[in-house]
């Protein structure tokens, strides 16, 4: 930016002339107690709930508890510079974050201040951090798919734009990986992504940002960080800030995706703040309104109707469980709030099934309406087949003689499990997902050895790209599983199987 010194002087002169020197009027109070990020303030009798308070020196706080003589405020940022006896003023405002296109590709903190060293964020627009979610009149049903590019999710638990789908599982089960893959897959799909990291190690977040950059996904992504070393207050507010950034796109008629990683730590940060502010503890020492904490956040994910711009905000909250206990307090709360959950298991992960999604316990309550019709047709029986396979597999472990039909079912199930495996950072396009799942459900893999299924899939992928790009285009054009589409896909698969042979090693028999 080329600015001459005279220009600056002119601007300053204009500003000084136009300076509105009206006296400031505010309610004031005195800090009587400060510590652990909580300030108790005497006075401030006109203070409003959640009002932004000015502690001076650029330090702000939020009114948290309004009591008879005092106000408890949570301090945003460094509370060590606040002293007892210091003056506090009301501002008449609620906490806000900058929003808009200027935030895309940036890494910011809870208050929208840049953390990536790429300079100031040039945007005039701000939004309130904590607002009430849009009501029923402004919404409509989820009707457009949000493709994650992950076969097992797009087929069994499809996600629609505007949905809230929970990703839940123990530590080290690939929860974040699913969210990151989904963000990577939104490239070129017109979906703005916001990744909110709550209470995570700065090193993990740095790695995630590097991964997103490497895959060109930062071009449509904003990362909001409240790390493990940030104040609990910042961690508590981070998801609301991320949500406000996403709401800007939603209300502008665009599509946005917000990942909250993770809400367990968010609840813990809120518990800390609440206990320090002397709100009474409830179950597991969480305050009584911990349900509302998450429900009001996730309600802001919405699919807006045509009169309200037709935008959407999809939420992918993440919850970490302890020893697969999904009936614990916070997991059970968030499960009941969301429109479905993707349940990841350590045992599956260790058995090499990655993504380690438990297909029996995972559901998507509304995503089916949004699923591409061809996909729902192809995957119609997938969930049932997998369920039956799991039961049979447990039974067959006893190694007794099995009849032919059972063996065939086991064989089919094993291959279905194989095709639903997918490496990280390799999201697939929807037409390829459809074809690959069709090969499994239609029995094209039954004569392919189990350990060759991955190879088969990779070869088929290349074959589709090089020999039959027309099939993919046809699926995308039709979007339904019409007889012509099925004919074209079958013809392609027959041709592929004629030219590629996958046999058992050393000619050993089944399964």
């Amino acid at each position: 930016m080329a600015t001459t010194s005279s220009e600056i002087t002119e601007i300053i002169k204009a500003q000084i002339r136009g300076f509105d020197g009206r006296p400031e009027a505010a309610d004031v109070g005195t800090v009587v107690e400060i510590g652990d990020g909580i300030a108790r303030i005497y006075g401030l009798s006109g203070c409003m709930a959640s009002e932004l308070l000015d502690f001076g020196n650029g330090i702000f706080g939020l009114a948290f508890n309004l009591e008879e003589d005092t106000v408890s405020a949570i301090v945003l940022g460094d509370y060590t510079r606040i002293t007892e006896g210091g003056e506090v003023r009301t501002t008449g405002r609620i906490a806000e974050v900058p929003v808009g296109d200027a935030l895309v590709g940036r890494v910011v903190d809870t208050l929208g201040r840049p953390l990536d060293g790429k300079g100031a964020i040039e945007t005039a627009e701000t939004r309130r951090i904590d607002v009430v979610a849009p009501g029923v009149i402004k919404r409509k049903n989820v009707d457009t798919p949000l493709q994650t590019g992950i076969k097992v999710i797009d087929s069994i638990t499809p996600i629609g734009r505007g949905q809230r789908e929970l990703i839940i599982g123990d530590r080290q089960t690939g929860k974040t990986a699913i969210a990151i893959d989904t963000i990577i897959n939104q490239k070129g799909q017109g979906v703005y992504c916001i990744y909110v990291a709550i209470g995570q190690k700065e090193s993990s977040v740095a790695k995630i940002v590097a991964t997103l950059e490497e895959h060109g996904a930062m071009e449509h992504t904003t990362v909001v960080i409240a790390g493990a070393s940030d104040a609990a207050t910042m961690q508590y507010l981070a998801p609301y800030a991320g949500c406000a950034i996403g709401e800007h796109f939603r209300d502008a008629g665009k599509d946005a995706l917000c990942v909250y990683d993770d809400l367990t730590k968010h609840a813990q940060a809120y518990r800390q703040v609440s206990l320090l502010a002397r709100r009474p503890p409830g179950r597991e020492a969480y305050p009584g309104d911990v349900f509302y904490l998450h429900s009001r956040l996730l309600e802001r994910a919405a699919r807006m109707n045509d009169e309200n711009g037709n935008g959407s905000l999809t939420a992918l909250p993440i919850i970490e469980t302890q020893a697969n206990d999904i009936a614990a307090y916070i997991p059970a709360n968030v499960i009941s709030i969301t429109d479905g959950q993707i349940y990841l298991e350590t045992d599956l992960f260790n058995a090499g099934v990655r993504p380690a999604m438990n297909t029996g316990l995972s559901v998507s309550r509304v995503g089916g309406d949004a699923q591409v019709k061809a996909m729902s047709k192809v995957t119609g029986s997938l969930k049932l087949d997998l369920g039956q396979y799991r039961e049979l597999a447990a039974f067959a472990q006893f190694g007794s003689d099995l009849d032919k039909a059972t063996l065939a079912q086991l064989r089919r199930g094993e291959r279905l499990v194989e095709i639903l495996k997918q490496p990280q950072y390799q999201p697939l396009t929807v037409e390829k997902e459809i074809v690959i799942i069709f090969t499994g459900t239609a029995g094209y893999l039954d004569d392919v050895p189990k350990d060759k299924v991955g190879q088969f899939e990779r070869d088929l992928d290349r074959f589709m790209d090089t020999q039959h790009p027309d099939v993919g285009r046809l699926i995308l054009k039709e979007r339904k599983w019409t007889p012509e589409v099925e004919k074209a896909v079958r013809a392609m698969l027959d041709e592929f199987k004629r030219t590629n042979r996958y046999t058992e090693p050393h000619g050993v028999g089944a399964p």
Partner: protein, 175 residues
């Protein structure tokens, strides 16, 4: 500063209600002020669990001889409830409540230079006019304000000092 819970105010409200009903607010006020001025050692003795309750009650009775009965009752109640330490704050709360009900507001006026009597009177009358209350003002001088004045009535602050204006100009320019 009425901190330390709302207890003192509860007692003060109760006494004030009785006083209002009897139409003897000034007398009660004077009695409480006298109690509020009790020596700290006396207050400590009255709250000392090492001294038998009977003797403390007798002492309290003797100390409040000649006061209105409800005030004596208040002291006996505080002694029984081990709340004697609150007496000073109850007096403060009582004063505040009396002022509040009489429509009196306390104001703090801080100026950069010392104000003369006429300026003070003008300021107070303007403030009473603006707030609709009788203003009981205290005046202070703070050269750091550079110019103008800071007026605080209750919790409400109007900062018309030169320092505040320069500060907001600074913030506007920095933006």
């Amino acid at each position: 500063m009425a901190l330390g819970g709302s207890g003192p105010r509860r007692y003060a409200e109760a006494v004030l209600d009785i006083a209002t009903a009897e139409g003897a607010v000034p007398a009660y006020h004077a009695a409480l002020e006298q109690l509020g001025g009790l020596a700290p050692s006396t207050v400590r003795m009255l709250g000392d669990p090492g001294v038998p309750l009977e003797r403390r009650l007798q002492a309290a009775d003797a100390a409040t001889k000649g006061q209105p009965d409800p005030v004596r009752g208040l002291v006996a109640l505080l002694v029984r409830r081990h709340r004697m330490a609150l007496i000073g704050r109850i007096t403060d709360a009582f004063t505040q409540l009396v002022e509040q009900r009489a429509g009196i507001a306390r104001a703090r006026v801080t100026t950069a230079v010392e104000l003369d009597g006429a300026a003070r009177d003008a300021l107070v009358s303007r403030l009473s006019h603006a707030t609709g209350k009788t203003i009981r003002a205290t005046f202070a001088v703070d050269p750091d304000l550079l110019g103008g004045a800071r007026l605080q009535v209750g919790d409400h602050l109007v900062d018309a000092s030169l320092r505040a204006r320069l500060h907001s100009l600074l913030q506007q320019l920095a933006r």
